[in-house]
């Protein structure tokens, strides 16, 4: 299979998965099997594509040219290929878990949810493998629409309100901020194609560069950086499989990946011209890492707590992108992968607990680990990774971020960003406060005596994916070095 064919296969497999869910909604066994097989195929193609990217060379394909100078095209570069492969692999666990969840809860429209999750996967893949900003924007819009459909899956008034808020904020930010930024970029540079090292250097004045960077950061509202974070606040109205797809797999990580890609492959050296905006955004991101973790601590609904944890964790990626050095870029990339793994583990564990016990209040988790040891062992591992406990995968990006902040700035030779390193370190403590005691109480508290909603507990479809995702969270630590080598091209260009 040629590299271009792999690129197409990676893009089209989720589409086929969505079509299959719509065409064959019954019997449920066949539907779930097809869904899982397509998720596996997507993971396989994405992994092969990542390997092909590692060989070097250009892997690109044009889909259409709507107007002169504006291409709809895909290309695989290390950052995008890595995130797509990582997310596709853990999405297999999500596909298993979704099948178990939908059956256990007797969901009214399981095929529809599976189809929308698949479409989200395709849109996310399109964003991350976009060859240029135009293509990125097209797929980002598709991602927003599919996220809207995911959020409104329950269809009740609160789900609709949450979905409306999500749509309004993400769509308004993308149409009102991101699109002008892209058009401005096109006007300034006459190009939209991503290039390692960026293409805006020497084409923008400092004022324009600062404004443009701000437009991009706020335009990618999927990163949930304040003041664009309000879309996460309706998380408690969203079903667990949909919420895990939005927060852990497709929307938030994709937004972060898109932002990182933009700073590396659009701005590149032009980040030096946008120092004021970069510093201001870095300050906001670091503050968000800390404050969002504290807000998460105040939330008792587990979905809200995990949603606010997402804000804090994705802010770390934004911070890495704004530091604008090699260590920051690597920290950002690794944080996306580690976050996706750990966060999905938490969402799936919380979903399994909900199926078995109907509990969504964090205070009611005490002792649940005694009755559901595998699920809550996974929960604890995922929480430990998000907190950044060494040697788990989530620890390394934080360490790199602190290192990046502590590095002397090339132009001044001074440690200008040491404050950012300090806040990032403090944010780790806040993250521990929001997730650590919860996981500990679940494992060590007295087992609840009241009967579960499902006396036999969660099914294997609900437990196994949590365990596998937790295992992947641990295994990721073995690959950190290889990932660093894989990302060397973007790393070397970011320095």
């Amino acid at each position: 299979m040629t590299a271009e064919a792999l690129l197409f296969a990676t893009m089209l497999t989720p589409l086929a998965r969505a079509a299959a869910a719509v065409i064959a909604p019954r019997p449920p066994g066949l539907r779930d099997l097809i869904n899982i097989v397509f998720a596996m195929a997507h993971a396989l193609f994405a992994t092969l594509l990542a390997f092909a990217t590692a060989q070097g060379g250009v892997i690109a394909a044009s889909l259409a040219q709507p107007m002169q100078g504006v291409d709809l095209a895909l290309s695989a570069e290390p950052l995008g290929a890595l995130i797509v492969a990582a997310v596709a692999i853990i999405a297999v666990a999500h596909a298993f878990h979704m099948a178990g969840f939908l059956r256990a809860t007797h969901d009214a429209a399981p095929a529809r949810l599976q189809a929308i999750v698949a479409l989200s996967s395709m849109a996310s893949t399109g964003v991350l493998l976009a060859d240029n900003l135009f293509t990125l924007y097209v797929f980002y819009q598709a991602l927003i629409l599919s996220a809207f459909a995911l959020a409104s899956h329950y269809g009740d008034a609160s789900a609709r309100a949450a979905a409306r808020r999500l749509l309004a904020i993400l769509l308004a930010a993308s149409a009102g901020l991101l699109l002008p930024a892209i058009v401005w970029t096109y006007g300034a540079a006459g190009a939209l194609r991503f290039e390692l090292g960026g293409f805006l250097a020497d084409r923008l004045g400092p004022v324009s560069a600062n404004i443009l960077l701000t437009l991009y950061v706020l335009g990618f509202a999927a990163t949930a950086l304040p003041p664009m974070h309000r879309w996460v606040s309706g998380a408690n109205a969203i079903s667990f499989p949909a919420a895990s797809a939005i927060f852990a797999l497709y929307v938030a990580p994709t937004g972060a990946g898109a932002l990182l890609k933009t700073t590396l492959s659009v701005f590149g050296d032009a980040m030096a011209d946008a120092q004021i905006a970069a510093r201001a955004i870095l300050a906001i991101a670091c503050a968000t890492m800390f404050i969002a973790a504290l807000v998460a601590l105040s939330k008792q609904d587990i979905r809200e707590r995990l949603a606010y944890t997402t804000i804090a964790q994705i802010a770390a990626v934004t911070a890495g992108a704004m530091v604008a050095n090699a260590a920051g870029a690597f920290a950002g990339a690794l944080q996306i992968v580690a976050f996706a793994c750990a966060s999905l583990t938490l969402w799936m564990a919380a979903g399994s607990a909900y199926v078995a016990t109907s509990r969504v209040d964090a205070r009611d988790y005490e002792g649940l680990g005694r009755r559901m040891p595998w699920t809550f062992a996974g929960f604890a591992l995922g929480a430990a990774s998000l907190i950044g406990l060494p040697p788990l995968a989530g620890a390394w990006p934080k360490l790199w971020l602190i290192t990046a902040g502590a590095e002397p700035v090339e132009t001044t030779g001074q440690q200008d960003l040491i404050w950012a390193a300090a806040i990032a370190a403090a944010a780790g403590i806040a993250a521990f406060a929001s997730l650590g005691p919860l996981a500990l109480r679940a494992l060590t508290g007295a087992a609840p005596r009241d009967p579960f909603r499902r006396p036999d507990g969660a099914s294997i479809f609900l437990v196994a994916p949590v365990t596998i995702a937790a295992a992947l969270t641990i295994a990721l630590v073995l690959f950190v070095d290889r990932l660093a080598v894989f990302l060397l091209p973007i790393w070397s260009n970011a320095s």
């Binding site: 259409a64 040219q65 107007m67 409104s152 006007g187």
Partner: protein, 485 residues
């Protein structure tokens, strides 16, 4: 058909397009029943559309514009607008059969009036001098008043709407006539002749005349804040009137406005005045239309207000006065016509008033109508892979290129407002349970299918490949704004 014959057809195409809608007239005089008149109208307009499809569009804009020496000809702007108007008229005529036949008083006259109005709007686009343009505009408008009055003969609201149209039409005619007189007197130039060229000094009187003509054309187009007639006519004046005036009239009137603007802005003494007038009208249109659209609870009224806002976007884009801006404004007019066909065509499937409740769940009850309204709404928002997205892109790009940051801001604001009102329509279409179980009648479904399918295909197809339209629009822009940046 031989290539030579195709070439002949292309030369005769303006006259064919202008005269084809009148085919219903002799049949209406002979047979009072609607069938023969409708058949003649459909056959003639479809033939004209086929001529456009197979003989006109394959030719380069430069080739077409060389044949503008008769009563009707392809001006550079008409090369973009006239084919769309011609095809739209054919599709609306085809769709009109289903709902105008049953229980309609004097159906043959209705079809004749519809044909006369379509003749007026298309003829105005293609007319080669001022007098003919004015005559066609009056024909188009007053025949549309007749369509409105006849189509809703049993409904006093329709008669009131027709009366309101007459009032606005009289005002517009007076403005246009006064403006034309001022322009001709000051500039000694026929704005619609093939010889009209930019860079000709027009003086203050000429600029004032051009401004008055643009105001008049904005009344015909239903551009805010001169759109006082649109909402009631779209909502209560009958489906046929809404489609005719929503799709064809704005395209025709605003295309003429672009030609006049180019003459005014191209003159050394008129540029600033024209930019202020057009820009001011555009901003007012976007703000006014968007606010009203956000508050609208009826789909047809929403379409009227959204069209007013979108017409404002075209005027704001035009204000930059560059080749790219003029081309982008032409694209916006094309998009406006296609979106109107989508939304008003979809709304025509709904029995009775197209209230918010009637729209709920329509995506499931009538998938094609739902898809058409959704395609129109997405294009209004400027969602990627729709024509609206590429148009918005070009409008913002041309504004930024001209250094008009405020114009780019207005375009973005219009998009954001569209997210609110069009997004709400999308939600009602697909995420609400149907409160009303009305299913469109089979005859109406079948009659509207070609128009809706074509409109959806146009939104998507042009969203993927707008290059041919863009090239034609660029040609129009370059021809009109010769010497502009």
């Amino acid at each position: 058909m031989m290539p030579g014959a195709l070439h002949e057809a292309a030369i005769a195409a303006p006259a064919i397009m202008a005269l084809a809608p009148l085919a219903a007239l002799p049949f209406a005089l002979i047979w009072p029943r609607g069938g023969p008149a409708w058949s003649a109208l459909v056959v003639a307009t479809l033939c004209a559309a086929l001529v456009v499809a197979f003989a006109v569009t394959p030719l380069a804009p430069q080739t077409l514009s060389q044949h503008a020496d008769g009563a009707w000809g392809f001006s550079p702007t008409a090369i973009v607008a006239a084919p769309i108007a011609g095809v739209a008229v054919a599709l609306i005529a085809l769709a009109s059969g289903a709902w105008a036949q049953s229980g309609q008083r004097a159906p043959a006259i209705l079809y004749a009036a519809f044909g006369a109005s379509a003749h007026g709007w298309i003829g105005a686009l293609l007319a080669s001098d001022l007098t003919l343009t004015f005559a066609h505009l009056q024909t188009g408008w007053f025949a549309a008043c007749a369509v409105c009055a006849l189509h809703g003969a049993r409904d006093r609201a329709a008669l009131s709407s027709a009366l309101r149209m007459l009032q606005f039409g009289a005002l517009a005619a007076a403005l246009f006539a006064l403006g034309a007189a001022l322009f001709m007197r000051s500039a000694a130039l026929d704005p619609f002749s093939a010889d009209a060229a930019v860079q000709t000094p027009i003086g203050r009187g000429g600029a004032a005349g051009a401004a008055l003509m643009i105001l008049a054309l904005c009344v015909y187009a239903g551009a805010a804040p001169l759109h006082g007639w649109t909402a009631s006519v779209y909502a209560r004046g009958g489906r046929l009137t809404g489609l005719l005036l929503g799709v064809v009239a704005p395209l025709s009137a605003l295309t003429l406005a672009i030609r006049i603007f180019a003459l005014g802005a191209g003159a050394p003494d008129g540029r600033l005045i024209m930019q202020i007038i057009v820009g001011g009208l555009g901003v007012a249109g976007v703000v006014w239309g968007s606010i009203q659209a956000i508050g609208a609870r009826d789909l047809r009224r929403l379409a009227a207000y959204a069209a007013a806002a979108q017409a404002g976007c075209a005027l704001v884009g035009l204000a930059a006065g560059s080749v790219a801006a003029t081309a982008a404004a032409m694209l916006q007019l094309a998009n406006l016509a296609i979106v109107a066909l989508c939304i008003l065509g979809g709304a025509a499937m709904i029995e009775g008033r197209a209230t918010a409740v009637a729209v709920e769940g329509l995506g499931r009850r009538a998938p094609l109508a739902g898809a058409a309204i959704a395609a129109g709404a997405l294009s209004l928002i400027g969602a990627p892979l729709t024509f609206g997205f590429l148009v918005r892109w070009r409008l913002i790009e041309s504004a930024l290129q001209s250094g008009l940051w405020w114009a780019a801001g207005v375009q973005i604001a219009a998009s954001l407002a569209a997210v609110l009102y069009a997004g709400r329509v999308l939600e009602r279409l697909y995420l609400r349970q149907a409160q009303s179980q009305l299913i469109p009648r089979t005859a109406r479904r079948m009659a509207l299918t070609p128009a809706l399918a074509a409109a959806i295909a146009a939104v998507i197809w042009l969203g993927l490949d707008a290059d041919p339209v863009w090239r034609a629009a660029r040609f129009a822009g370059a021809s009109l704004m010769d010497g502009a940046p």
